[in-house]
């Protein structure tokens, strides 16, 4: 089972490489997505999944991320063929293959309980995404890809060093050397403090780069700004979640060790710092796709903030992982449609999107409102839970800062979004033939529906999963 989960997408990727037809190839993506979803459904509902003597284990946290990735991918995959049909002039062989390979690698991340293996999988995800960013083949997309690749690789090299440090911290105390998560959690109290400390910092910076925490977020606006909306959605909802999962793994070890207080402190700091940086760059942002990237930075900040606060906020952060992922789908896909229609992503050119694209425009606006935590969307519940967690824990200053930053972000993002959706399209706006069509808006509607559903009612299985995951994360031996 464990193997099937990531092998199937890889096989589909291989198929995509050898399929000759540029027209039919994209349909492999939904096929892969559906297959993956079915497998995921089986894995989530079935008994424990593990393989390779505990190297691959599907634990509650992994389940959560795996479920998110699978749903995200399958909905995006329905969008992909229509999108690629719009860009029929481009060869899409590598695009399709890399998209599927990315899915496989992300799945591997969620499964791996061996930290070295996890590193390999995350690095592979980075490499698989690079060609996706480069899909437009423009100088700008080239630049974005270069930055993404170099900064991502450097960051991930630091993560490798951190992983080594972690391993060394056990050798140093004369324990059996291991990189297996379960073993490390078990022996965490005996690990060498300074090494663990340094390892956590390196890992946080390393995987934080991948996740897009400030100040390692610098690749994000470029990459999200230039990538197709579809890729943006998968990156912001899926790839970043994988990196977050990696951080959670190490946090789990720290949690069990005496370093917990330090780790929490740093996580809270990084969370607030990321939100602040995002807020700074969102004010007067003219490029609405870059704005989404900063929004992603902000939400990554919220995630680590929630984890750092602990208690109820942990639950909130895990829920936010899901709600944010789904809502980012709405935003990126609708922004992609608007970008296509206007052939520009600057607010100077893009006006009156609701008049031009009634569905995408409305969904973009709705997505903005939901993602900023307006009830009754899903992110509202999670952001509110994190706030409650902060207050319950007595972190009043953090709570106040959190709210203030949310307000600034709202102002910045709102200004840009309203400029895009309201008003009348200017006469100079490029006349493209793009119109909303079902295949391009249904996935967005599905994401929106999911997001609203999560705000009004959290289904029982998901609730159990969240509770299991929170308990799993907070558990101390």
């Amino acid at each position: 089972m464990a193997f099937l989960l990531f092998i199937v997408p890889l096989v589909m990727a291989g198929l995509a490489l050898v399929t000759p037809s540029n027209r039919w190839r994209p349909w492999l993506i939904p096929a892969g997505g559906v297959a993956h979803l079915v497998l995921t459904g089986l894995a989530l509902s079935g008994g424990p999944v593990s393989a390779l003597q505990g190297w691959l284990v599907l634990d509650p946290l992994g389940k959560l991320v795996l479920g998110l990735i699978s749903v995200l991918f399958v909905v995006c995959s329905y969008y992909a063929p229509a999108y690629l049909a719009l860009r029929a002039e481009r060869p899409n062989r590598f695009f399709c293959a890399c998209l599927l390979a990315m899915l496989g690698m992300m799945t591997l991340v969620t499964l791996s309980h061996h930290l070295g293996l996890m590193w390999v999988a995350i690095e592979a995800t980075t490499l698989a995404t690079a060609p996706l960013l480069f899909f437009n083949h423009s100088p700008r997309s080239l630049e974005a890809t270069w930055k993404y690749l170099l900064i991502g690789s450097v960051g991930i090299a630091l993560a490798l060093l951190g992983t080594f440090f972690l391993a060394y911290s056990s050798i140093r105390e004369g324990l059996a050397p291991t990189l297996l998560l379960d073993d490390l959690v078990r022996i965490a109290p005996q690990l060498s403090g300074p090494w663990l400390h340094a390892a956590f910092v390196l890992l946080l910076v390393g995987y934080g780069t991948k996740m897009g925490l400030a100040p390692m977020h610098t690749w994000k606006p470029d990459a999200y700004g230039e990538a197709p909306g579809l890729v943006g959605a998968l990156l912001a909802g899926g790839a970043t979640s994988c990196a977050f999962l990696a951080i959670l793994r190490f946090y789990q070890i720290c949690q069990a060790a005496p370093e917990a207080a330090f780790a929490r402190e740093i996580l809270v700091f990084m969370g607030l710092f990321s939100m602040a940086v995002a807020a700074v760059f969102m004010i007067r942002q003219r490029d609405f796709k870059r704005m989404l990237a900063y929004s992603s930075v902000e939400h990554m900040g919220i995630l680590v903030l929630g984890i750092g606060l602990g208690g109820l906020a942990t639950f909130g952060a895990l829920l936010h992982l899901i709600t944010n992922g789904v809502t980012k789908g709405v935003l990126f896909l609708s922004a992609g449609n608007i970008h296509r229609a206007y052939d520009s992503k600057l607010t100077d050119d893009v006006r009156g999107a609701i008049r031009r694209l009634p569905v995408s425009g409305v969904l973009f606006l709705a997505g903005f409102l939901v993602v900023t935590g307006s009830p009754p969307g899903g992110p509202f519940i999670s952001e509110f839970t994190i706030l409650t967690g902060a207050v319950s824990g007595g972190h009043y200053a953090v709570a106040a800062l959190y709210l203030a930053l949310l307000a600034i972000v709202f102002i910045g993002m709102g200004t840009t979004v309203l400029r895009v959706v309201q008003g009348v399209p200017s006469a100079q706006a490029a006349a493209t033939s793009y119109r909303d069509r079902p295949q391009l808006v249904i996935p967005i509607l599905v994401f929106m529906g999911l997001s609203l559903l999560l705000g009004l009612y959290i289904p029982k299985p998901l609730n159990t999963m969240l509770h299991d995951a929170a308990a799993y994360l907070e558990v101390t031996p």
Partner: protein, 213 residues
């Protein structure tokens, strides 16, 4: 055999300075290639035996870091480069000075970390950290895209040196995976450099600042 480790590590450190002081791309790449070969040797020395997987590992390292990647880089500069100088943002003397400071810092920082009772060598941790810092120096102070790839390689070498302490802890498969990932990364970077040179008719990354606020 462990008595050879320290001299080789010193050699690695010296190569860092060579890389920092190199004014020609060719020298820079050669220094890194040499460093990669040394790493292969270090694997054998650190393990102290000639078991098959150790030899395989060392061979792979030498082949990849010492031969294939440098060759790819040489190929790249042959194909695209107009000027073969390293274009530094910070001067060579200053770079060397910063490198020295970095090495000193690495030694100091390593002091604060406790070392295992039976270390492979007490120089491993500072050498590793210093190489990582050198990598960062090259990454941040050299403007050409290709030199940044080299910087990344040095950085990766530094991480690799630390891996010497953990020969037993890290399974063979994972090590190979790491190497493979490194190779693919460099490969993709090579492709991109190629594209960049076509698009921008230069490989200086200072051209790549179109995307900004």
């Amino acid at each position: 055999m462990r008595e050879f480790i320290d001299p080789i590590l010193v050699l690695v450190l010296l190569l860092n300075f060579v890389a920092l002081g190199a004014s020609r791309l060719r020298t820079l790449i050669q220094a890194v290639a040499f460093q990669g070969m040394l790493l292969g040797i270090l694997i054998i020395l650190a393990h102290g035996s000639f078991m098959l997987w150790v030899l395989l590992m060392a061979g792979a390292t030498v082949a990849l870091k010492g031969v294939m990647i440098p060759r790819m880089l040489f190929h790249a500069i042959r194909e695209v480069v107009i000027r073969r100088e390293v274009e530094p943002i910070v001067g060579f003397v200053a770079s060397l000075f910063l490198g020295a400071v970095g090495t000193a810092l690495a030694l100091l920082f390593a002091k604060t970390l406790p070392i295992a009772h039976e270390p492979v060598s007490s120089l491993v941790v500072p050498a590793s950290l210093s190489t990582v810092l050198t990598g960062f120096l090259v990454l941040t102070t050299r403007s050409k895209a290709i030199t940044q790839v080299v910087g990344y390689l040095i950085l990766e070498n530094g991480v690799f040196i630390f891996g010497l302490l953990l020969m037993e802890a890290i399974p063979f498969m994972v090590e190979l995976g790491v190497l493979l990932d490194l190779f693919v990364a460099i490969f993709v970077m090579g492709i991109i450099i190629h594209k960049i040179s076509r698009e921008f008719s230069s490989v200086s990354t200072s051209m790549l600042s179109e995307l900004k606020e």
